[in-house]
């Protein structure tokens, strides 16, 4: 019975290349299907709820991680640095307008109050969603987005 070894080398190589190409094509199609599935979502609310769980769990982990203090390079340390850079940027802007610097806690307070202009926002749809929600709610926080019912009490 003929085996691979009986075939000319060029034919064996051609078969191997063909099989490799076929496998590559299959992997590529699977990857494209997965990418397509990642871009759209058949259960949007379920995905946000999954995000909610991720956020709460991540919060617990972050809280535990700072129980022994914050070390340089930790996520919380990075966040502190980011907030400091916001303060520096904000005070540089104040200086340009001839005003004195504000304390970090006051700048943070202004951030919480929404008194500071925000950055460009999470890119794409998320940024637009934030903008839309803010528009619906108004700067003073009154009103609710359409369709949202108040809970009793």
């Amino acid at each position: 019975m003929a085996t691979l070894s009986d075939l000319p080398d060029t034919m064996v190589n051609a078969r191997r290349v063909g099989i490799s190409l076929l496998l590559g094509l299959i992997f590529l199609m699977v990857a494209m299907l997965q990418a397509g599935a990642a871009q759209t979502d058949s259960d949007p609310l379920g995905t946000t709820q999954r995000g909610l769980r991720l956020g709460v769990v991540a919060g617990s982990e972050i809280e535990s991680s700072v129980a022994g203090g914050v070390a340089a390079g930790d996520p919380v340390s990075r966040a502190i640095d980011v907030l400091q850079s916001v303060v520096v940027r904000f005070n540089a802007e104040r200086r340009r307008h001839g005003r004195g610097p504000m304390r970090a806690v006051d700048v943070h307070q202004a951030l919480v109050e929404g008194a500071l202009p925000g950055g460009s926002g999470p890119g794409g749809p998320a940024g637009r969603a934030l903008g839309l929600l803010e528009k619906q709610l108004g700067r003073q926080g009154q009103g609710l987005p359409p369709g949202l019912a108040r809970k009793d009490g």
Partner: protein, 136 residues
């Protein structure tokens, strides 16, 4: 109804008092210091941002909280204000989905996740009084 944004976390950072801003928004007048040696712990906003980044671990949005924190803080505060108005957490998420879908497009998975993660982080560190309301 007043909007109480209590920027504190259980055991990590305290708000010393609060004040009313405008007709319906109550905000804390003092946030924890950003000093890492502060015995009160890291500021709630830092914990909030770090939590979002951890929640988005492995997504393309990882790192966004450190690159552009202000909009995420605004979103978290906005979500807390909705909760304070009596909107349930699921309806807050519905509002996020609706806003993402407002232009008729199908929301992307990571943008949907972001809304949930921000709500979770906000409830955890900006308005923890609503933590019992979360059905996880």
């Amino acid at each position: 109804m007043a909007v109480a944004v209590t920027a504190c976390a259980s055991g990590v950072g305290d708000v010393t008092s609060s004040t009313t801003v405008g007709p319906s928004t109550t905000v804390p007048t003092s946030l924890p210091s950003t000093t890492t040696t502060d015995p009160a712990g890291p500021p709630a906003l830092a914990l909030f941002l770090a939590t979002i980044d951890k929640g988005l671990d492995g997504t393309q949005l990882e790192g966004v909280p450190y690159e552009d924190p202000e909009p995420l803080i605004r979103t978290g505060v906005l979500f807390c204000s909705l909760l304070d108005k009596g909107v349930g957490p699921v309806d807050v998420l519905r509002a996020w989905v609706a806003a993402l879908s407002a232009d008729g497009s199908t929301p992307g998975e990571e943008d949907l996740l972001l809304g949930g993660v921000v709500l979770g982080a906000a409830v955890r560190f900006l308005c923890p009084e609503y933590l019992p309301d979360l059905e996880l």
